[in-house]
């Protein structure tokens, strides 16, 4: 039953899309820490894609999974080429066999789709084209469709913090989880022949260290903490101010990665003046991603930003800016990975 999955407390993340610059430092922090082995080349447990765009894996929003009226919805398996080709380079030939003067390093096979292939393309027409960056990782859902789907119960959700994990000793590589995950954030490792995904950096969390993607973020766009911690940024942004929303709430899994929707720059008129009459990023587009609650969320954000422009105080903007790092960002997970012990960074 769906309710059986509910943890005692849920560790969650808020990502402020207004601050994300698409630098992929989170992606690389994750990649170097967790997915740098053979069989994992195509894995980006954390990915950042330009929106509007086809995402990772390509067109993942049309691949099914999740729940419809609480009934599991069939999904399909994304292939490695849909996640993005992993180009191989002839390092030997160029660097060691004396061809470096005549040939340059390039993929052995010309890729036709790769991770982040449509970066910065976005949508709209000059002078009002628009895009923003959307970092994605496993949503550690309150009702994990992946865990529901596994016939051998190899996926668990930790009672103490709701982190969803695939037991690599139990997993037989049946990949029903990959089909059932509506966010398409589970990958097949063809070397271990198991399914793998973001582990929410649980070995760091267990030692009081924030996730690598969150701690390494130069833009400080990510907040971490328990959803029910009334003094923490997560509860205040999600439940009190209601400006942080899950991606595709209609998937029915209650995702626990929340996003502060992007406001975007002002529109321009043909003659170069500002046009504040409508938003640069169409509201309908944001509704298609974050649901109808995105409208009041944007109104709240704009009201609070206006307050600050008038020189008034805004508690919400104080939280979103976060003056003290890491304390204002990571709740109880503020330890430095080196101080907390080896192997975490």
């Amino acid at each position: 039953m769906k309710e059986d999955w509910k943890p005692l407390r849920q560790l969650a993340m808020v990502i402020d899309l207004n601050k994300c610059i698409g630098c992929q430092t989170c992606t690389v922090a994750c990649k170097t820490l967790w997915t740098d082995e053979e069989g994992m080349e195509h894995m980006y447990w954390n990915s950042v894609n330009t929106q509007p765009g086809r995402g990772t894996p390509r067109d993942w929003e049309g691949m099914g999974g999740g729940f419809e009226n609480d009934v599991p919805r069939a999904g399909r398996l994304p292939s490695i080429s849909e996640f993005g080709d992993v180009p191989r380079y002839d390092y030997e030939r160029v660097f060691s066999e004396g061809h470096g003067e005549k040939e340059f390093l390039r993929p052995k096979k010309r890729p036709d789709w790769m991770f982040n292939w449509d970066e910065d393309q976005g949508a709209g027409v000059f002078p009002n084209s628009y895009f923003f960056y959307l970092p994605r990782l496993c949503n550690h859902c309150t009702y994990p469709a992946c865990a529901e789907a596994c016939p051998i119960k190899a996926i668990s959700k930790r009672k103490e913090d709701g982190i969803v994990l695939i037991d690599q000793d139990k997993c037989k590589g049946y990949r029903f989880c990959m089909e059932a995950c509506p966010y398409k954030k589970i990958y097949y490792n063809y070397v271990t022949r198991t399914s793998q995904k973001c582990i929410f950096c649980f070995p760091r969390v267990d030692k009081g260290v924030a996730q690598a993607c969150a701690r390494q973020c130069p833009g400080r766009v990510r907040f971490v903490g328990y959803l029910d911690d009334e003094r923490g940024p997560i509860h205040r942004l999600v439940n009190q101010w209601k400006v942080a929303l899950p991606l595709h709430p209609e998937y029915g899994t209650e995702a626990n990665i929340y996003y502060v929707p992007p406001i975007g720059p002002l529109r321009n008129t043909e003659d170069g003046n500002f046009d504040p009459s409508q938003p640069r990023i169409p509201t309908e587009y944001l509704v298609s991603l974050f649901g109808a609650n995105v409208k009041p969320a944007i109104e709240t954000l704009q009201t609070e930003m206006d307050k600050r422009r008038r020189g008034e105080k805004s508690e919400l903007l104080e939280i979103l800016i976060g003056w003290r790092w890491p304390d204002d960002f990571f709740s109880h997970l503020t330890k430095d990975p080196v101080e907390a012990g080896g192997g975490l960074s």
């Binding site: 009934v71 599991p72 919805r73 069939a74 398996l77 994304p78 292939s79 490695i80 080429s81 469709a145 529901e148 789907a149 596994c150 016939p151 051998i152 119960k153 037989k172 590589g173 049946y174 990949r175 029903f176 990959m178 089909e179 059932a180 097949y188 063809y190 022949r193």
Partner: protein, 223 residues
């Protein structure tokens, strides 16, 4: 329905070879397979899937023993040879032979094989997959969703794919190296039950998505 296990003085290596002439001396039995039912699957997701599995409709089964070991020769038509997985899709093809464990022996004669046993009906299966190499896995189960792959059960398996057809031979000592909780002993002469399953990897068949012989088949072992 019956599958007869002839006694033939074949060497293990000979019997394990799917194309060996020794198999020409054993009459084949056509076994009709059905898609496994999904309603009893342990996963709600799998139960809700549109039924598109069970692509393999029949297999040809041969069996022999040489006084020491028991061999099954399974052959079926499959236009896609799916071997070692290199991507999320396709899955490797697979085949299994299942027999009741001694604890279950008297209880299963009337029952069907489709559930892979029950609480009080433990079963033993030999599972071949092209990516397992020349060793089949020893599986035990007590009903839907309970299958466990146990330690090396001394089951050899060799396969050949030619002209759109798989031929797989399983071989194991009549008296298995594992105990009666894990491995079904077979006596010659004697009688037990057997069932078969085949997975078509190209059709994403794996785990409970398979084609099975729904009823137990009598396995008659010659002296």
């Amino acid at each position: 329905m019956k599958v007869k296990v002839a006694k033939i003085a074949a060497k293990a290596d000979e019997a394990l070879s799917p194309a060996s002439a020794v198999w020409g001396r054993v009459p084949g039995t056509r076994v009709v397979l059905e898609p496994s039912p999904l309603e009893n699957q342990p996963s709600a997701y799998v139960r809700a899937l549109p039924p598109r599995h069970g692509k393999i409709h029949e297999i040809e089964v041969r069996a022999l023993h040489n006084g020491e070991s028991l061999f099954f020769h399974l052959a079926w038509t499959d236009p896609n040879q799916d071997t070692t997985p290199t991507d999320a899709h396709p899955f490797p093809d697979a085949a299994a032979v299942m027999m009741p464990l001694p604890e279950a022996a008297e209880m299963v004669f009337e029952g069907d094989a489709i559930s892979m046993g029950a609480d009080n009906i433990p079963v033993n299966a030999w599972l071949w997959r092209p990516d397992f190499g020349e060793q089949a896995k020893n599986v035990t189960a007590r009903g839907f969703g309970t299958s466990k792959r146990s330690a090396d059960g001394g089951i050899s398996a060799r396969s050949e794919y030619a002209r759109g057809r798989w031929a797989v031979v399983f071989g194991r000592a009549l008296k298995p190296q594992l105990g009666p909780e894990e491995s079904a002993p077979v006596t010659a002469p004697g009688k037990t039950l057997v069932a078969f399953a085949v997975w078509e990897g190209a059709n994403n068949e794996r785990a409970g998505l398979k084609a099975v012989s729904p009823k137990w088949i009598t396995l008659e072992v010659a002296s």
